[in-house]
Amino acid sequence: MSSHYRRKDSFKVTTKGGLRTFGDHDDRTMSPPSQSSWKDRRSRRKGGRGYRKNQSSGDDKMRDGPNPRSRLEDDDGDISMDDAGTAGGAGGNRFAPYGARPKSRRGYRPGGRDDNTDMDAHNKFKRLGLPVSSRHGGRRSNRETYTWMKIYIPFGNKNSKEWLLKSIQDLCTVPFQPIDFHYLSDGTACFYVDDKRAGYAIGEVSKRITNTNGHKVVINCKPHPPLAERFLKNIPLTEAQIEILKRSMSNRYDVLTHKLNLSNLLQDEDLKSNNIQAILNRPNIMESVIKIIAENIPQITSLDLSNNKLYSLDNLKELVGKVPLLRNLSLAKNMLKNEKDLDKISGLKLEELTLDANPLCVQFRDETTYVSSVRKRFPKLLKLDGHELPPPITFDVDTGSEVLPDQQGSYYINDQLKSLVCTFIQQYFAVYDSENRQGLLDAYHEKSCFSMTIPPNNPRDSSSQKVHSLSYYIKFSRNLQKVTDIDYRSKLLKTSKLGVVAFLTELPETQHDLASFVVDISMQTPTLLCFTVSGLFKETGRRSGHPQPIIAFSRTFLTVPAGPGLCIINDQLSIRKPSLSQLKGAFSTPAPTPSTSPVPPEIQAQSSLSQSAPLVAAVTPTHQEMIQSFSQQSGMNVEWSQKCLCENNWNYEQSARVFTDLHSKGNIPPEAFVK
């Protein structure tokens, strides 16, 4: 939205709220310098205020500084349209704690301030219910008492929000929940945290992150009074609320035509009866709506958002890229005032757009200007407000597809390999899910390697489980992006069949959902077969508690031929949290025991053929096999191997430890090694 437009809006606001003077105007000079270093630095640069008055009024860039006032005034000024007037007459003495700051510090130019603009900001504050504190009417309060922090990241728009938050969270010593993440128009990213300690910890991360352009990411933070309650409504919806919203949306979705009708959502009976105020102007509501669309019905072709009092498309812009087939959008009967708002959604490949009954429609000189202005944003548009448009001008150039190849199911190269690999997988996981993983010993090569990774913590996932089950695995994670020490890298790589199986034995008990498995065989040579298995498992052991956590995994096996079966030489396990849709379908068929668990058709088919199918040499755990294996590993004869295993309750790993211990002390008689 252009600054000109906003300013116009601001003036209106000023009139409504009336002009007042605010105590914080001159307090700035009284603030102790230590409390906000960047502020003081700027004061110095500025060389005093009031100088060159109005100089900046036409300079958008300078107006949009990284401070709350200018954010409100310039970037989110639109918000004030929501419930406009409800707060218009109240709280006249409130002040903007960090308002009345002149212009952007990036400007570094001595720039006077526009007093009118400051007034506007003030009036907006109170109307917005944004950071204002009625207790300290007209006087600057002691910042030490502020319990929130506001974080500014100059040039934060150079990387994605996800990347930025993730990078900060990775380095930040205190976990945090970003509130109201947004950008100022100079590209500075801003958000609040409701925990001062976290805020300072975030500040510590400054210049420790390098972005993809090779620049150090600077992070500034300032204490901030808590956001007013009205604004807190921007905190994400609860899962229960999302479920209700999902239900309403699904009632409003036509499966056959792929049309989603969200017209007049505020009056939705179902939502109303559940105390959800579906005001699409609120970021939390719009975000949830878009998320539900993206996760459940990304194939929609038509979306009706008419009659929702939308005054801005700021939040709707998140829809771009998530609905590749959307062609028809209705924004009729909203409060859109500025044609430039359409830029935010110009990434949508619209063929039909309805803008009827929005203030912006009457701003154009004539019909032609209107059409060409809209078409500039949507060059493929065929229909505007129900009227056919002249066909778009197109040239036959290869603009690059935006369509990804369809996802296919498992890929096995040929039926013979399919049979071999399916049998292997079925048997492998049957033993893996059993009480005793020792039986896996013979599935591994002498020179086998195993390692696992879990993804770094994701601050965005705060909505899911508080302490996710994955945290247990952190200590095993060999993510080379994080683990840089060579010795530690070696240590986290489990080697030799004994080492690998001993480690696997320590991992929590599991049950794999064979029905969820997808298998890709990606390489085949006479000596090597490489395949990846993806799917879900749940932890079933005592550690897991209830509900048993469900975990998504991808596991790559490199195998060499071993008789009629396969022997693992490399094994890499990546685990992660499952997606919501995965969770929905997980373990949908009851599976009382792993041995009888349901399996996908192809894997199922193999089991009936098991006589002819090549079997993995010995993945069925028996004591006899353990003795053989132990004898091989230790060099002891069968009798002594059995003795050792028996005395250690057939715990292979423990037996191995005891043996190594005794052997190193020379406590094993020589006859034990006579075969």
Binding site: E402, T453, I486, R489, S522, C530, T532
Partner: protein, 133 residues
Amino acid sequence: MAASDFKIKIAQACQAGEEFQKIYYDSLDKRRNKLSKLYSADASLVWNGNACSGSQQITKFYEQLPTSDFRVDTLDCQPIAEEATNGVTSVLVTVSGTVKFEGNRMQGFNQTFVLAQTGDVWKVASDSFRFHE
């Protein structure tokens, strides 16, 4: 093999994977026409269940995808015992992260490579890619 030798192998595998990962995703995001040089002539690719082979075919496949923006979250590399590779020094590289293809939503992915040393250079012998569901 002596323990220290093996440790060197591990370090080498890690280094190969780290270097590769940087070059690979950079090429994929910005210089897809250079991809063919990263794949060995008889390399194989399985991409979300779609298979193709040969460095030319694979490059062609990738060139048809929408513009991408990859972000790597995890990387893991293991040396592959030479019994399995006819004596060719090879490494298993596993990557996970997120990718945004233009016109599509951001998605998690897992990708597994087998890298093999051929002469002075390392090339991709196999590439397996899946979106996280």
